[in-house]
């Protein structure tokens, strides 16, 4: 296969960037999108040009490191991560646009790499369960209802890649935050911090400069892990409940 790539090149966060065109030859349909970028980078290195910087780690679709907007879609045309996207999803002769996540809260570090530490700060604000250290507790000490376990697991699938923010026209982080809030709030282990968790994480999300939710549904469509849009509804409910509870205390 022969493709024409148009890639966002940007030296650092202070310099302006632009799309640059690269013809890529000999692309196998079995290559992943990142492997295709690897072959291009090898050529660029040999030619003396700076290789294209992009985030990647596990290449198994479970770490959430890859962050490419391909032809206007976060992670490209398939419902998976860019590392699990294969070149068979494209046709010979296609022109493919590759851009970084776009959001004020995700500044571009270089080329296709963005700084997603805003997500880490949202987690630090309440995306945890405080437990006293010591010996591991007995596994059945806290019974977890099956429905709660299923719901928690569905939300726990979020890998924090940020595709939701990249896809949202408002650069909103509601789907990410809601997945993390719901994951712990539905479990008995998360119950003691149920109210503070949602209030603090939402406050941090707003403080990071993410936009508000207008329920366009773009986030849930882009999410490689299938976190549903109703996750946001559940978080709204938790947030309103927490405000009622806190005001009574």
């Amino acid at each position: 296969m022969r493709l024409t790539l148009r890639v966002w090149r940007q030296k650092n966060d202070r310099s302006p960037g632009a799309m640059k065109e690269y013809p890529v030859d000999g692309v196998s349909p079995d290559m992943s999108f990142l492997e295709m970028l690897d072959t291009l980078n090898e050529r660029l290195t040999l030619e003396g040009e700076e290789p294209i910087a992009f985030d990647h780690d596990c290449r198994e679709g479970i770490c959430g490191a890859c962050s490419l907007v391909i032809n206007g879609d976060a992670h490209g045309p398939e419902r998976t991560t860019a590392c699990q996207l294969h070149m068979r999803s494209f046709r010979d002769g296609d022109t493919v646009d590759v851009e970084p996540w776009r959001a004020a809260a995700f500044p571009v570090v270089r080329d296709l790499v963005v700084d997603r530490s805003a997500f880490d700060r949202i987690i630090q604000a309440g995306g945890y369960v405080s437990v006293p250290t010591g010996a591991a507790p007995e596994a059945h000490a806290t019974p977890v209802p099956k429905a709660a376990a299923d719901a928690a697991f569905e939300h726990a699938e979020c890998i924090g890649c940020g595709a939701c923010v990249a896809a949202c026209p408002n650069g909103s982080a509601m789907l990410f935050t809601s997945a993390k809030v719901n994951h712990l709030n539905v479990l008995p282990q998360g119950a003691p911090e149920r109210e503070t968790r949602v209030l603090d994480m939402v406050a941090q999300m707003d403080a990071e400069g993410f936009g508000g939710c207008t329920l366009t549904g773009e986030c849930a469509t882009a999410c490689p892990k299938g976190i549903p849009l109703t996750s946001i509804t559940s978080m709204n409910k938790e947030w309103l409940r927490a405000n009622r509870k806190v005001s009574r205390d």
């Binding site: 206007g72 879609d73 939402v202 707003d206 939710c213 329920l215 109703t230 309103l240």
Partner: protein, 234 residues
């Protein structure tokens, strides 16, 4: 003495709501639903125009005597008007602030653009502005009668007919009501999500209700100018 692990005090609920994007959306959802309730009653009352000037003008007069003798003449109407102004202002201020925030959150767009979201969703902001301008025109036309051709206080039937005998009266009204339908279609469903009422099992019901409300209200409101244009109401 135990150590205080969290010495900072939480802001008040009012502050939390006003400072949060979810809080502002909650204000928009509640004010939107109140306005929607008003519109349903308004639309229903409008249909009395098909029963002739006596019924319609009598209904308009009854609205002014609503709540008597507990309330004075026109007091009920003024209470509703004040409530509506509060709703419109709160709804618009939150929408403006959230829109500005949303634009700031995505300062650089994508080079590769593709159509996003449904038409109703994309037109919420400008649709809202159109509705705001329409309300101003609507009040000048049929409440203060400033721009009405008939302008007879106490004769709303004749004033309505006069409005819809002008081509611009029909165009402004029908365009605004189509914008209203689109606004309700996304707005009602969104309000349900914001207030936490949505769920996977309830989604179809909520979407159908939103579409039903949008359709019934738009059709009900548009029936009046269509009635005047076709001569059913004259």
């Amino acid at each position: 003495m135990a150590l205080a692990t969290r010495p900072d005090r939480r802001p008040t609920v009012v502050r939390t709501v006003w400072d949060s994007t979810i809080g502002k959306k909650t204000i928009m959802a509640v004010s939107g639903l109140l306005m929607l309730t008003y519109l349903a009653v308004h639309m229903f009352g409008n249909l009395k125009i098909f029963f002739g000037p006596g019924t319609f003008n009598g209904y308009a007069h009854w609205l002014r005597t609503l709540g008597e003798p507990f309330l004075h003449y026109e007091w009920a109407l003024w209470i509703i008007r004040v409530g509506l102004v509060v709703c419109v202002v709160a709804h618009a201020v939150c929408a403006y602030q959230l829109s500005r925030l949303d634009r700031r959150a995505r300062p650089v767009g994508y080079v590769h653009r593709r159509p996003r979201a449904s038409y109703a969703t994309r037109t919420m902001r400008w649709g809202g502005v159109i509705l705001g301008l329409f309300i101003v025109w609507h009040l000048l036309d049929l409440t203060t009668l400033t721009v009405n051709r008939n302008a007879e206080p106490g004769h709303p039937y004749q004033n309505v007919v006069a409005t819809f005998h002008t081509w611009y009266g029909d165009v402004i009204y029908i365009v605004a009501m189509l914008a209203l339908g689109l606004h309700i279609r996304h707005g009602f469903w969104s309000a349900a999500q914001t207030l936490g009422a949505g769920s996977r099992t309830r989604d179809r019901v909520l979407k159908s209700t939103a579409n039903g409300l949008a359709l019934v209200l738009t059709a009900g409101f548009i029936a009046v100018p269509v009635g005047v244009m076709t001569g059913v109401v004259s």
